[in-house]
């Protein structure tokens, strides 16, 4: 237990842990000490000089070691100069004064200095209305400047640091929060200062500019309007915006977010989303989010949105569509196959599963990754918080590129390693997280299971894992398909079970799923199917939230063998083109519901914008079909559906929507009144969610599958093996419609080992043709000397349908031929 120290701030006694900074101690006591450069998530810098206070300490008699008394009180010796509250740690008996004339003058002086260089263009500044400089000037600044306005220095006001973040050099106050965020928190030092003195300016050190997937966060913590996002700049004023709580639907982390909306003339007076902001949940995303989550929301406004049902590709009424679907389902019952993806909410999946079960049909999860039955048993326990992992704890990340697949987990695992946790990164290639690993294991493709099995034994690393206070394992599908990842999951589950790292908080298995609610889909009873093509044959296929035809030409072909196809989605896709009936679904921004994150935290999202056209929520459509078939499914309220779900799915027992909406005080304090301190991240007033318990912690028998030695295909001497990997910015439906990300999405690009490239006669940036599974495609080439010479890395969702390791013929193309 950390030693507690008591000090007095403005006459208020405060007791805080040893090592606490004066500025934080004051905040804990509800006393505001203004800051610009200090941020509670980062090391102090002490450069803005805004937090100046008077600091006194008790005089200690050197001979006796006792405090010298004066009039019955300890004698306090004040420092001759003002001290920065952000760099001084508290000490026993310290006295801090934040409201004296000296302090007031100091703050006023600092603000006057800052404003000598500031353009005072608040009326056209995006930060105006939520700007720490503006707010603190009103509170502490001089009413008038003595600096001649004509002598102001003029600097560039529209500097793109990258294509996502713009810098206004006049507004920058050189606090270095953005630089320090990238250095300390992300570990990607892509920003820096150039020149010195008043010419000091922020520059991007990377090519392409500001090459980090966390760049948007710098605009949240920028205490002025210097850093703005290309998405939001000049888009709206903060006070015009309404805030709606949501959960990011891009990956299994489940970042808590806020949609800022307003009526937009350009959108015909409709209410639209103007920006996505992080919402604090210290156990999930803290106060951060990645750029994919922040910027890739435009698909909900896409012109490809489905707004009306169609029957045989002709517009139809809901009644006609429901009639046809119901009749068809009624007539075929057990021949109905429901194929749904983890893009859907728990409620959607619950109703779809109830429907499939009620008909005696089949329910299939649309994914290329297995193992979700294991996370329910030996997943992380209730109360798990990656932010609490540190010295003595171990984290294993195997077959996952967290930076690309679940960026905020990358961030939190990296920080756990910074705090002293042992990080083991095992993969067949280099990934960004490897740099922070104490042990980086590079295995040969096919050795995934063996690598995990080898972590049980006498080796130093195995011992370190076994003896860890807490151990968490992230497994993914990097280089693996459904079977490979399922085998790997089994191996990871066994490792955790055998080393007794299950059934408690901060211990267990986490799946780095391909979609946000894959975990929820497993919980609802959906299971993947290795042979989808056969599963479609002669069946009535009801596809929800998935585009198999667009993802894989083989599946498009297989769908032709189905008897009847119902597709329910939000966007027009190749699959909707093949449908007999298309049912338009609402985007998650238009409705409420819950998702289950990879850490098995159930979290609520709320409607932010009005419904597009006649679209209905997925759960409501499934519920309505169910009702028409005589099943007791809910077709109106998502929350009623959740209550039913909680009553019937064991792991959700006892949950209700109120529990999901509970909040507790969080540190650091963020929110509207504390912009200057934590940034513009939204305070969480809408719920922190609830983590599900695992079978292991309920003391139930855990039944793990036998671990199969061979996890996946291996490359052979005579052929190349194409293996799929995940890329954050891909051509998936939810990303591609965000124009801003086009440059980051780029062309389909495969990675080759230098030797392979040499053999094929191609160089980086060159072109190859690939032939696999009877398909052929072209792609650009990237060289990666960390991969095996026998493999070709193929990014998922970039138009190259490699769903699992598959043999491939590759030919170098001399002339660039754009496909």
């Amino acid at each position: 237990m950390t030693k507690q120290l008591t000090l007095t701030i403005d006459g208020v006694q405060v007791t805080v842990p040893e090592g606490t900074l004066v500025v934080d101690a004051a905040k804990m006591a509800g006393i505001d000490i203004p800051v610009f450069c200090y941020h509670p998530k980062m090391e102090p810098a002490g450069n803005c000089r805004m937090c100046l206070v008077e600091v006194g300490r008790p005089v200690i008699d050197r001979a006796t070691g006792q405090a010298v008394m004066e009039n019955g009180q300890p004698k306090i010796q004040f420092m001759p100069k003002l001290e920065t509250a952000c760099t001084n740690t508290v000490s026993e008996g310290m006295v801090v004064l934040t409201q004296t004339e000296k302090v007031t003058e100091g703050r006023k002086g600092t603000l006057e200095f800052l404003l000598t260089s500031h353009p005072l263009d608040c009326p056209i500044c995006d930060k105006g209305g939520e700007c720490p400089l503006q707010n603190l000037t009103v509170e502490h600044g001089p009413g008038k400047s003595r600096f001649l306005y004509d002598e102001k220095q003029h600097l560039a006001k529209h500097v793109p640091l990258g294509e996502l973040i713009w810098l206004d050099r006049e507004r920058c106050i050189q606090c270095a929060r953005c630089i320090r965020f990238q250095d300390e928190i992300v570990g990607e030092a892509v920003l820096g200062f150039e020149a010195r003195g008043r010419m000091t300016q922020i520059i991007s050190l990377s090519e392409p500019g500001f090459d980090s997937v966390f760049s948007g966060n710098t605009s949240d913590i920028c205490p002025v309007g210097a850093l703005t996002t290309a998405d939001f700049r000049f888009g709206a004023r903060p006070w015009e915006l309404k805030a709606s709580a949501s959960i990011c639907s891009q990956c299994p982390v489940g970042c808590n977010t806020t949609f800022n909306t307003r009526r937009e003339a350009k959108a015909g007076g409709e209410i639209v989303i103007k920006r996505v902001m992080p919402r604090q949940n210290e156990e999930v995303n803290e106060i951060w989010m990645c750029d994919k989550g922040r910027f890739a929301y435009h698909y909900a406004e896409s012109a490809q949105r489905l707004v009306k049902p169609t029957v045989r590709q002709a517009k139809a009424s809901w009644t006609d569509a429901f009639d046809l679907v119901t009749q068809t389902f009624e007539a075929s019952k057990s021949d109905v196959v429901v194929l749904a993806s983890g893009r859907l909410s728990n409620e959607d999946l619950f109703n779809l599963k109830s429907l499939a079960d009620g008909l005696g049909g089949k329910s299939i999860l649309y994914t290329d990754m297995g193992g979700g039955n294991l996370t329910a048993q030996v997943g992380v326990g209730q109360g798990t918080d990656l932010g609490k992992l540190g010295k003595g704890d171990t984290i294993l990340v195997v077959a996952s590129d967290l930076y690309e697949e679940a960026p905020v987990w990358y961030l939190r695992v990296k920080q756990a390693a910074d705090r002293g946790a042992t990080l083991i990164v095992a993969n067949s290639r280099h990934t960004k997280l490897e740099r922070f690993a104490r042990y980086a294991i590079r295995y040969a493709n096919g050795d995934e299971v063996k690598t995990v099995a080898d972590l049980q034994g006498d080796s130093k690393i195995a011992q370190e894992f076994a003896n860890a206070q807490n151990a968490v394992v992230f497994f993914g599908s990097d280089g693996l398909g459904l079977n490979g990842s399922a085998n790997l999951a089994a191996a990871c589950a066994k490792l955790l079970q055998d080393t007794k790292h299950v059934g408690k908080a901060n211990n267990g298995l986490i799946g780095v799923w391909q979609r946000a609610n894959d975990q929820g889909a497993w919980e609802m009873g959906f299971r993947p199917e290795a042979d989808l093509a056969s599963a479609f044959k002669n069946k009535i296929v009801y596809i929800v939230g998935a585009d198999p035809a667009g993802d894989d030409p083989a599946l498009a072909l297989a769908l032709k063998g189905a008897r009847f196809i119902v597709v329910q989605d939000i966007l027009e896709t190749l699959t909707t083109h093949m449908a007999d009936v298309v049912l338009p679904a609402q985007a998650y921004t238009e409705r409420e519901g819950t998702y289950t994150s990879g850490e098995r935290r159930v979290q609520r999202f709320y409607a932010a914008v009005p419904v597009h056209g006649e679209a209905k929520a997925d759960f409501a459509i499934a519920g309505e079909i169910g009702r028409r078939l005589g099943l007791n499914t809910e077709n109106g309220s998502a929350m009623v559906t959740f209550d039913r779900l909680a009553a019937s799915v064991k792991d959700f027992a006892g949950l209700d929507t109120n529990k999901l909406a509970e909040v507790k005080p969080q540190w650091p304090i963020v929110g509207r009144g504390d912009l200057y301190y934590g940034g513009t991240t939204y305070e969480n007033k809408q719920g922190l969610g609830v983590q599900l318990s695992t079978a292991a912690e309920r003391g139930e028998a855990v039944s793990l599958p036998e671990v199969r030695a061979e996890s996946a295909l291996r490359p052979r001497e005579d052929q190349l093996l194409a293996v799929p990997v995940t890329k954050l910015y891909d051509r998936g439906q939810t990303v591609a419609s965000t124009e801003l990300l086009t440059q980051r999405i780029g062309e389909p690009t495969v990675s080759l080992h230098p030797e392979t490239a040499k053999r094929l006669g191609v160089a980086a940036g060159g072109r190859v043709s690939l032939a696999f599974n009877g398909l052929s495609a072209e792609a650009l080439v990237k060289i990666d000397d960390t991969i095996s010479a026998g493999v070709v890395l193929v990014p998922r969702s970039m138009g190259l349908a490699v769903r699992e390791p598959v043999s491939v013929q590759v030919l170098g193309l001399a002339e660039a031929k754009v496909s």
Binding site: R49, L82, R146, F193
Partner: protein
Amino acid sequence: MAHVLLRHRDIPNLNQLDVYQKNGGFEAFQKAVTAMKPNEVTDVVKASGLRGRGGAGFPTGMKWSFIDNKNWPHYVVANADESEPGTFKDREIMESNPFQFLEGLALASYAVGANAAYIYLRGEFWQVAALLDEKIADMEKAGLLGEKLFGSDYSLKIYTHLGAGAYICGEETALLESIEGKRGQPRIRPPFPPAYGLYGKPTIVNNVETFTNVPLILAYGAEWYKSMGTPDSAGVKIFSLSGRVKKPGNYELPFGTTFRELVYNYGGGILDDRPVKAIMPAGASSSLIVVDDKALDTPMDYASVRTLGADLGSASVIVIDDTVSIDWVINKTIHFFKHESCGKCTPCREGNHWMLHLTERIHSGEGSQNDVSLLLNVAKQMQGKCLCALGEFATMAVVTGIERFPQDFQKAVKA
């Protein structure tokens, strides 16, 4: 009297290793390594009363004794960033008496248990760095640097490191950042380098001149050293004399020598024999001393100079006569500090920028009395709020110039 630091002026070719050794060179180092415990070396330096020659005048032996012995390895760094306008003593030492400096650095390294020492030179000193590299190589060849010196277990390497042209890198923590390959900006202190220095390890940073004192202190003893100078300021000091004097240059004199002796006996008096108006005893960072007979007869030691409302600092004595207007002087100093402000902290970055606008206006004759009071006010608004000493230094000449020479400013704004 024979020189202690500028011994090359007495002994020809002292910058050659054999000549230096013939004159007792490296005997102190060999004796220390073979016959003394490290803390005994520190004790002698402590007893000698040697104070840091970089400007702050902190007792050297005490600094060495602050090194954190629970955290290893230790480093010693020589601050050879000599960039203060008016200061040019370290260059002469390094060029002409390099081995005495290097021996002092080696002795300090032994005293604090450092096996690596760095010499941080300002970027413009690339020729000096090349010369020191030669001298270091000579020492290595002669077995005076390297592994297991003189048959002991002690090993030492010395490296030179060039800066890239920033005054701020003379600030010890900015200097350390620069060696680490980072942007040269000061760190928050505390922790101080003896606890958290180069690469986060306990480090002693001293000025070139400070180190150069050490070999002779070890050779002749603390009492010998203390016999020179004053009780408060023991030993000798190199005074870099510049400005309106007939014979500017470096003069090694005992502490306690008066300004009058320096300016008239050694400096040959003032050009055109005009009267002295002001003295800046510590280069551009100085307060301006109003010169009268009392000031001229004040002994140059740390305590006495303070009675004149100034600090002796690095003893870079700039002499100003009655042909020079003080508004011109502060325009020059602010130009310098505005150019050299690193930009890290607000008061220094913005304050110098603002002060330059004001002094430009005043000096060009377009200013008003309001500008003068505003300038004074801005300088005072900076004081006590900056992250490091640079911002404070920038205000010294401004505040003392306006307060002590108001007539010069009245004239400047009237004209």
